[in-house]
Amino acid sequence: MATERIKSEITGTVWKILLAEGDSIQVESELMILESMKMEIPVESAVSGRIQSILVAPGDAVDEDQDLAIIEID
């Protein structure tokens, strides 16, 4: 099955994860919220599918371009 890696666009901290592994997700829907320089930045899925794995936890520091989650594409 084809997969898509969801990456962070910015350096920051994982503030809240909105969905869980196994959940289905639609294109452009929000998967988690990052906080960076006091901004609440949504992380959206670029594809529709099912969340195979979430690679970070709340409070984790993330770098720009870091993988955050893997989506199995519908």
């Binding site: 503030w15 809240k16 960076s36 901004m39 609440e40 930045i41 709340p58």
Partner: protein, 361 residues
């Protein structure tokens, strides 16, 4: 309370009834009197910077303390305050090494599992930069405000909450401009004008303002520019190099574009420093000519003027009241909250300096 709620990017904000929580132990309820409409709000409205929605934009305000949480001792009801998005925790590595504006601690926000500060019918409204000032009330951490003297006019004080601190702070703190320096500022919006004013206060011998709008270049002269260049000529870099006979000691980019960031670097003399203040859209890369590093040219970012706002803002208030900081010219219009969309559209045109919302109107 009423607030301007953004539910979809690139769509007008709607004035809605919003519920605001009670102050937590270290929170302060502020009744804003004035709120500036800033170009940075536009970046979040148009999506060049993503943000959780719905939200209430606005991050440049001054007002009066309405109520304080049980552990707050710094302010009391009735105090005049300026708010600041550089809320600091006070005990992380950045804070303890004096870089308060770089504090990343989430503790100045409410934790995700706690009731949100703002909501509509039970739906969370995401607080913008821990402030959300396009609203009749603001509930903020005590480390997101500074007390100021009561003879300071609130509309002028509001500007100190962001544009002044960002522009003047970039000159004083991030770059550390010395008296006699040659300075160029690209972009003469609120932040650029503040940088020009700051460079003049710092004693720069030449302050060159670069913009494409003649009326803004006139404003630049009024706040301290010694020379102006209209970039419509298409050769702003060449004109600056010719005027300065070799380049600037310091340049400031106050627009947020790849091209102007690169121009700021190209305008430097050897050993010069370019400071990028503008918010360059997420994902944009900036390209520099590598050989220029052999001439010890430097480029750096500046966030909110590398501020220590509880020290800086009262000083900026004194600068205004003593005639050094020219805030009167920065305000093009006073408006009502309901006119906030019109104000943001005016900012897009680039023709006007700044609209300020007055909540007592």
């Amino acid at each position: 309370m009423k607030a301007a709620v953004l539910r979809e990017q690139n769509k007008p904000m709607e004035i809605e009834e919003v519920q605001i929580s009670k102050p937590g132990p270290r929170e302060v309820l502020v009744r804003p009197i004035a709120a500036g409409v800033c170009h940075s709000d536009l970046h979040f409205l148009d999506g060049s910077y993503p943000y959780m929605l719905p939200t209430i934009l606005g991050h440049e305000s001054a007002g009066v303390v309405e109520e304080v949480g049980k552990d707050v001792t710094y302010v009391k009801k009735g105090d005049h305050v300026i708010t600041c998005l550089s809320a600091f925790c006070g005990h992380c590595n950045k804070c303890l090494t004096g870089h308060l504006s770089l504090c990343q601690s989430p503790e100045v926000s409410r934790a995700p599992e706690v009731e949100s500060r703002l909501s509509i019918g039970g739906e969370t409204v995401h607080q913008f930069l821990n402030l959300s000032s396009f609203a009749e009330l603001m509930l903020i951490h005590e480390h997101a405000l500074v007390k100021v003297r009561e003879d300071m006019p609130m509309d002028r004080a509001a500007l100190i909450g962001c544009s002044t601190t960002t522009g003047v702070g970039a000159v004083f703190h991030t770059a550390g401009v010395e008296p006699g320096s040659i300075v160029a500022v690209i972009g003469c919006g609120g932040v650029g004008l503040a940088a020009i004013n700051g460079a003049a206060i710092a004693g720069a011998s030449m302050v060159i303002a670069v913009d494409m709008v003649d009326s803004k270049l006139e404003l630049a002269k009024a706040v301290g520019a010694t020379h102006t260049i209209n970039a419509r000529s298409g050769n702003a870099v060449g004109e600056v190099l010719e005027l300065t006979k070799g380049g600037c000691d310091y340049t400031f980019e106050a627009i947020g574009l790849k091209a102007t960031a690169e121009q700021a670097f190209q305008m430097l003399c050897s050993g010069g420093t370019a400071t990028i203040i503008g918010m360059i859209p997420v994902g944009t890369m900036v390209e520099l000519h590598g050989v220029d590093f052999l001439m010890e040219k430097k480029i750096q970012g500046s966030n909110m003027g590398s501020n220590r706002f509880r020290i800086d803002m009262p000083r900026f208030v004194d600068f205004y009241l003593s005639g050094k900081l020219h805030l009167d010219q920065m305000i093009s219009k006073h408006i009502k909250l309901a006119d906030v969309n019109t104000a943001l559209n005016a900012l897009k045109s680039g023709e006007e300096a700044r609209h300020v919302i007055m909540f007592d109107q």
